[in-house]
């Protein structure tokens, strides 16, 4: 049984069909990297999976929570799916600890004392136990992104979506964030990552999904996909990213 099951997803912005029938299954504990050229629809796909974008056709199923164009229990879906954004999107008026505590208290109505413990654990997991009372603008980009990961973790999602979460970081801060993702992967978290860090994708992910013009053009184990691309598009893409 797959944890995430996408069936025939179509998504258009006006006349521009961005997703042209996506089928994808992700098993519990699987770590999937989405790669592909700019504009191929990676972010859009990720955003449909927690209901930030409505789909025109198809269905999304995550651990029993189901969304299609007709019926959408977004709350049920979002309780299963965590998301980390490129721009961190921490709440600027709240401390790191408050950022992490907000949703469990407000959405899950858990007691403040319980949530405090959860938040401390989540921040400790991302190596920021000592930053509980720091405000976002007192943290480096890498630290902010790790708080964002902790914020998502505190909701105990079944799967986490990460959209280029190191792209807004200075190069020297990328590794501390990737290390956290690597740790989550090792602990068995189900992850769906859009990334341009090919070396990381190769090392950490069990599946690479190559998107091209709104379709999944190829998918498979990283070594296989990298060494034996079946389509010219992927071969060209690999050439492009390894040149850099």
């Amino acid at each position: 049984m797959s944890l995430v099951k996408l069936t025939g997803i179509h998504k258009s912005y006006g006349d521009n069909e961005v997703l042209k029938g996506i089928d994808l299954k992700v098993n519990e504990g699987q770590v999937v990297a989405l790669i592909g050229r700019s504009g191929s629809g990676k972010s859009t796909l990720l955003r449909t999976i927690n209901g930030l974008e409505r789909i025109n056709q198809g269905s999304i199923e995550v651990d029993g929570a189901c969304v299609d164009p007709g019926q959408s229990d977004l709350r049920a879906l979002r309780l299963k799916v965590g998301m980390v954004f490129q721009q961190f999107n921490l709440f600027p008026h709240l401390t790191a600890g408050q950022n992490v505590m907000l949703a469990p208290v407000v959405v899950k109505k858990q007691s403040k004392a319980d949530v405090r413990t959860i938040a401390e654990e989540a921040l400790a997991k991302v190596g920021l136990a000592d930053k509980f009372d720091a405000y976002p603008d007192q943290l480096s980009g890498g630290q902010q992104q790790r708080v964002a990961i902790a914020r998502s973790l505190a909701m105990k999602p079944r799967v986490m979506l990460c959209d280029e979460i190191t792209s807004a970081l200075d190069p020297e801060l990328v590794n501390e964030v990737l290390a956290v993702v690597r740790k989550l992967a090792e602990e068995g978290m189900t992850l769906l990552l859009v990334t341009h860090e090919m070396r990381f994708a190769r090392e950490v992910c069990d599946t690479l999904v190559f998107m091209h013009k709104g379709r999944i053009a190829e998918q498979g184990a990283p070594e296989e996909v990298f060494t034996k691309p079946a389509t010219p598009e992927l071969a060209q893409f690999i050439g492009m990213v390894t040149e850099r």
Binding site: N50, G51, L52, L74, R75, R78, L79, V81, G82, M83, F85, Q87, N89, L90, F91, P92, H93, T95, L102, A103, V106, V107, F132, D133, A134, Y135, Q138, A148, R151, S152, M155
Partner: protein, 224 residues
């Protein structure tokens, strides 16, 4: 021209002045609390995405912003009794000020809300928060912080504008001034003193609002 100033002639009426200051202050406090509350609700309605709500509040805001305060006051005090709604002077004054500040603060607060980065709202959505929860916990506080200086100025304008309520015999500070000078025939001294009192009130109000803003919107010192 040898005019001999006689300020003691004003201070003979100190109790009247004090009453006037107190009523002006009271009108300001009540209309600020109620007006800003309406402003928050109105701004929430205008940004709710519900077209009917947005339009309804939009009409209210434009009617108030494009008509004179004095006419709004007269409408409430002299017009409404025709419909059987008869309000005492001070209630009519409060109502007019609340309705007026409500409209202006709706627009000011709306601007603050609309400056919320899209990503913060999406972060809230992705955490399964509802629209209302996002508004309450993510949007409104930074928005209020951002527009607090503009809102403070509007509150001072409303406080000063309350002088118009003397026209319906609400016994606020300007009413007190008119009353005193009709007794002692010392308009220069009376209006000089009252001008100074308004100035003092305005400076005090600005200071209080700034303090309040610092208190509410400042962050606790971080442990670092």
């Amino acid at each position: 021209m040898a005019y001999s100033f006689d300020f003691p002639a004003v201070f003979d009426y100190t109790p009247v002045l004090v009453d006037g200051v107190v009523l002006t202050a009271a009108l300001t406090v009540v209309s600020t609390v109620a007006g800003v509350s309406i402003g928050i609700a109105g701004a929430a309605a205008r940004t709710s995405g519900v077209k009917a709500l947005d339009t309804a509040v939009g009409v209210y805001v434009e009617v108030i912003r494009n008509t004179p305060f004095l006419v709004q006051l007269f409408f409430i005090f002299f017009g409404l009794p025709t419909l059987g709604i008869r309000l005492p002077e001070w209630q009519a004054a409060v109502l007019a000020m609340v309705v007026n500040l409500g409209a202006y603060s709706t627009e000011i607060i709306r601007a603050g809300i609309q400056a919320t980065p899209r990503g913060l709202i999406e972060a809230g959505e992705s955490l399964a928060m509802t629209r209302a929860e996002i508004f309450r916990h993510i949007v409104i506080k930074p928005a209020m912080k951002k527009i607090w200086p503009a809102l403070s100025s509007q509150i001072v304008i409303v406080m000063l504008g309350s002088s118009v309520c003397s026209q319906i015999a609400a016994e606020e500070l300007t009413f007190a001034a008119n009353f005193i000078q009709s007794r002692n025939f010392r308009p220069f001294e009376v209006y000089f003193v009252v001008t100074a009192l308004y100035l003092g009130l305005a400076v005090l109000l600005r200071w209080l609002l700034a303090r309040f803003g610092n208190l509410v919107f400042a962050r606790r010192a971080a442990r670092a």
